[in-house]
Symmetry: C2
Subunit: 384 residues, 2 copies
């Protein structure tokens, strides 16, 4: 029989999923596991958002929406850019998608041809290069380190731009490092990309989870920037599968066409719930969760440094610490494996995020409460 | 600036969406429009399913599920094949997806390489060839007509199998014709495909909406058949975006890997609701809706014949009539356009389903109540 497609062989699994499966097995055997591997906070969706969903469901709003989303939600997202960032966004550019995953798929499918290359920071979110692979394009990892806060710079983009390069994708702030590209640097990257006639994609799914600063959205750079965002992280709606794409005007038609075919539409109940998530009533609840995440970061970061992890760059947002492990004389896969078995603390190996340098790093996700973080630190202290 | 990707230029929009947009514009101007263009029944999701969703939401079940779905739902879907079709299905083969659209994407992405060809009936569901295009493969339309009930046959598959052919996709019953491949013919197609070492994909999203017969599921043919199904149609859950794929054992790992990257998971609330949709309590409600659809078909079909439409084949399922229009001396696009403007009845031009023969057909979707169908018939009678 015919084998599976080459792309299916080449797209790698998340190593974290194996860790998670193993952790669950240990739990089933009675072990107490502290989950610092999963990129999903423990918070439940706020009650008013849930009640908005209940209202919509009981009103019988169970049919398809238009492919690019409920007009009211597209309008509300445009309004969000105005209120939150002071940027005017045409609602016609807002494409509501099944998660930021759906936004990434639509962006990659609309913009990149087979053989095109897209520059990505290495380390970075692994799906980015897999979405490129899905479209027969190539996510080209650019090794970044402490000197650039694990982010691309305009100089790096210029240096790595090749004859097949057609775009750059920046996570701002990024997973797994939580670090930010400064507005000045992003503006410079934008200029380089524009100069080459390519596309700048900016993933801002963690942009509202910045703890120390409130920089402008990349939407302010111009309507040629492709923006990816999500209701999953700050808005605490992971399982609802809802995100959005701000598409350049010339691209909206292509995005709509592909969305019609590939998704039909994003989930209807999630869209009605999202209208509530964007409301003034809900914002204080989201801010409270954000403050809790900030407290966790502020607790965890110095503790990890104290344990001997190398954390030279303060994560400014998201809910991750990307920590160097050179001191411990193990690869990340070894450390993660032994740490799980010997301490019951589950981590993600850096190899999920960086084919190049990942074996020297692990990712801590502070997606569980502070007392559990303390227990994890205690266990690690005894172990290391 | 760089243009959009070639695939984005080549994937065609649904023409029905332009008709829908035009129809909504006319409605906004006060015109009464009868919607026979949309492939979505007017039924709301049954109340017990909605209440199961409410319960799950209020219990805080708002996080991600595993990439292939809740274990309980995968188990329940496997159980459904046992109860409904008497087929034993390993729950490990059940991949819960964001709609049948998600199932089609995962199947195409997992199985087909760039340049591969997949045989499709023409007319057929347009997304099928667009999903192939998305993966840089080719959906090759095989013209089918009345003589084979608008379906592929083993002889046609054998005849059109070329050096690049790697699979066949059958909609059973099919959109837009509602016609079925007999079990005998499907078994023969399966043998031909097996003989060539290719993949047989069967889309059964309308299989529970067969009005006159209850044939076995293609799952009974063997676990090498790739099955696509959905909670949208029979289970009345369109806007929830939930479907499933029965993947061959050798393919599940590839599907899971791609699903992890592309979707993360299907919507959580929809999965909990679907558990209720599969319950014995809900089935009578679904059967009542099915009976209503059957009454509509039984009303509409002879009326259309009486009006001069060419309906030589009885649609055995789904909620469509694919009707020939040669008698009226217009192309389908002309007829649909004039019909909307002059009678307020919205139809879908056959060109959405058949690049080859579509201009001689229109699709009626009996997705609205019988009194509206009667009004539509009256308007058409006056007009034609």
């Amino acid at each position: 029989m015919k084998a599976v497609a080459l792309r299916a062989q080449e797209i790698e699994p998340f190593r974290v999923m194996e860790i998670l499966a193993q952790a669950k097995l240990l739990e089933a055997q009675g072990r107490d596991i502290i989950h610092l591997e999963i990129g999903e906070p423990d918070f439940v969706t706020p009650a008013p958002v849930i009640e908005a969903a209940v209202l919509a469901l009981r009103a019988g709003l169970t049919h398809y929406t238009p492919a690019l989303g409920l007009p009211a939600l597209r309008q509300a997202i445009a309004g969000y850019y105005h209120e939150r960032y002071g940027v005017e966004v045409d609602p016609a550019r807002v494409c509501v998608t099944p998660g930021a995953s759906g936004a990434l798929l639509l962006a990659m499918a609309s913009l990149f041809d087979p053989g095109d290359e897209i520059l990505l920071a290495d380390p970075g979110y692994p799906c980015n290069r897999h979405f490129a692979r899905l479209m027969e394009a190539h996510g080209v990892g650019v090794p970044v380190g402490v000197e650039s806060h694990f982010q691309l710079t305009a100089a790096l983009v210029e240096q790595h731009w090749g004859p097949r390069t057609q775009g750059v994708l920046v996570g701002n702030p990024a997973n797994p490092t939580g670090t930010l590209v400064s507005t000045q640097e992003l503006t410079a990257i934008h200029a380089v990309v524009r100069g080459h006639g390519g596309w700048l994609l900016v993933d801002e799914i963690y942009h509202e989870l910045l703890y120390d600063t409130a920089p402008p959205s990349a939407a302010a750079l111009g309507d040629d920037v492709v923006l990816i965002n999500s209701f999953s992280k700050y808005f605490l709606m992971t399982g609802w599968r809802l995100g959005w794409l701000l598409a350049p005007p010339a691209v909206v038609t292509a995005v709509e066409r592909i969305a019609q075919n590939v998704f039909l539409a994003a989930p209807t109940v999630a869209q009605h719930a999202a209208l509530s998530a964007l409301s003034a009533e809900v914002r204080p609840l989201l801010e409270a969760s954000k403050a809790e995440l900030c407290r966790r970061r502020n607790y965890l970061l110095p503790q990890l440094a104290d344990l001997g992890f190398d954390c030279p760059v303060t994560p400014e947002g998201a809910f991750y610490v990307y920590a160097g492990i050179k001191k411990f004389g193990m690869t990340s896969e070894e450390l993660v494996q032994r740490c799980l078995l010997e301490t019951g603390v589950a981590l993600t190996p850096g190899t999920d995020f960086s084919p190049m340098q990942g074996k020297h790093y692990v990712r801590f996700a502070y997606t569980t409460g502070e007392n559990r973080l303390q227990q994890a630190v205690d266990r690690l202290r005894q172990w290391l």
